[in-house]
């Protein structure tokens, strides 16, 4: 029997599973979303599921749900592994471009203490602007080449900017613009859509199984999941951006990652940040 004849039905299994889910009678009208109500429902789900976790502690990801890991993390935070990247980020942020200007000139308040306002919906451009996108836009506007969204420099810069906002609550706005509502809705749909051969959605791990183990890792809750970004992951041995994490989550479910800062990823970041409004920025973070 040829190998493809064996693998074909196995590889189709996830799709069959999806079909079985479809066959369960459900009726969801395609209502226009009510983001405020949905964000409240989102929060309530996690508050109810983990009644002994204080709301603001959800930003600590797996540490909020696992005591052993939390103790190790508290020790590590006395001498955090992200210090080097954070220092580099401060340096890079202050370094002037060839034309004499610097990043501070592109941002409100010179870029200090503003991370909690990103992403925002740019009504002029008609799209979601994330902090990473804004940094590269700043570079391009000042005649500098863009830097990789997956690389160390972008991670260091966003680490520094997050650090200046530590403790400030996420304050993501959805303006009264149908395109902004669409972006929110797209992000929400992306979050719940199964993808990759392993047929996981973001929700599969971060809504259904937070606190449980996936191989040797403890899964983080989706509530507050971006508050600690960017993160120094021991697994990476380096600081990684939101773009990097989205891409690796995709490939881990055996889905080919989309381009960094593609519309889907920006809309996803918009949605995830909005539903965590009110929770404090804790970045940069350290994770296993």
């Amino acid at each position: 029997m040829r190998s493809w004849q064996v693998f074909w039905p196995i590889s189709i299994l996830p799709a069959i599973a999806a079909l079985m889910v479809l066959s369960v009678p459900q009726a969801f009208a395609d209502d226009p979303p009510d983001p405020a109500a949905e964000a409240k429902a989102f929060r309530d789900y996690f508050i109810h599921k983990f009644s002994d976790v204080k709301l603001e502690n959800f930003v600590n990801g797996p540490y909020s749900l696992n005591e052993g890991m939390r103790r190790q993390w508290q020790e590590i935070e006395q001498f955090p592994p992200y210090e080097f990247s954070l220092e580099k980020g401060k340096e890079l942020f202050a370094r002037p471009f060839t034309n004499g200007k610097n990043y501070g000139d592109c941002f409100p308040n010179h870029g200090i203490g503003i991370r909690q306002n990103y992403p925002y919906f740019d009504t002029k451009a008609g799209e979601v602007v994330t902090l990473e996108l804004a940094l590269n836009d700043c570079r391009k506007a000042n005649g500098e080449p863009a830097i990789s969204y997956l690389g160390d420099d972008m991670a260091a810069l966003t680490a520094y900017m997050a650090f200046t906002s530590r403790g400030k609550p996420f304050d993501i706005k959805i303006p009264d613009d149908p395109r902004a509502l669409d972006a929110y809705r797209n992000g929400k749909r992306y979050f719940y859509t199964r993808r990759g051969q392993l047929n996981f959605s973001c929700a599969t791990c971060h809504v259904q199984y937070p606190g449980e183990r996936l191989r040797a890792e403890v899964l983080a809750p989706a509530l507050g999941i971006l508050n600690a970004m960017p993160i120094y992951r021991s697994e990476w041995g380096s600081m990684g951006t939101i773009s990097r994490r989205f891409a690796t989550c995709n490939s881990q479910t055996r889905g080919v990652p989309l381009e960094p800062q593609s519309q889907e990823y920006r809309d996803l970041e918009y949605y995830l940040s909005y539903v965590s409004n009110g929770l404090p920025i804790s970045g940069p973070g350290a994770r296993p």
């Binding site: 040829r2 189709i12 799709a15 459900q26 199964r194 047929n199 259904q208 889905g255 080919v256």
Partner: protein, 112 residues
């Protein structure tokens, strides 16, 4: 194809030659058939993967199978290449199915 010879020994001599040439013909016919089978299979797999790409839902394993098929074809192993291409097509079609069914199915996971 029949071979006759005037003498018994002549027949004995010629038979292996006939057999060999028949095998030779069959082998090259097989090779040509194999290659075109592979090309058909790969074209189908590639088309399905393009559709998955448009749906923004390609799988890493599909890409690996396609690369494996190309590599085997490059080495002249068209049977294996065709098999890998068929697997790639199945994977690509599954990813397309996933993308299409998830258009509605995602709502089942939504927190309400």
């Amino acid at each position: 194809m029949t071979v006759t010879a005037s003498t018994a020994s002549g027949q004995l001599f010629l038979w292996p030659l006939v057999a060999l040439s028949l095998v030779g013909c069959a082998a090259s016919a097989n090779a040509a058939g194999s290659q075109s089978d592979f090309e058909t299979a790969y074209a189908a797999a590639d088309a399905a993967e393009q559709e998955a790409g448009h749906l923004r839902n390609r799988w890493t394993v599909t890409e690996t199978a396609l690369a494996g098929a190309r590599k085997a074809a490059g080495e002249g192993d068209f049977d294996r290449a065709r098999d890998m291409a068929r697997e790639a097509e199945a994977l690509a079609k599954a990813s397309v199915f996933q993308a299409k069914s998830e258009k509605e199915a995602w709502k089942n996971l939504e927190i309400r």
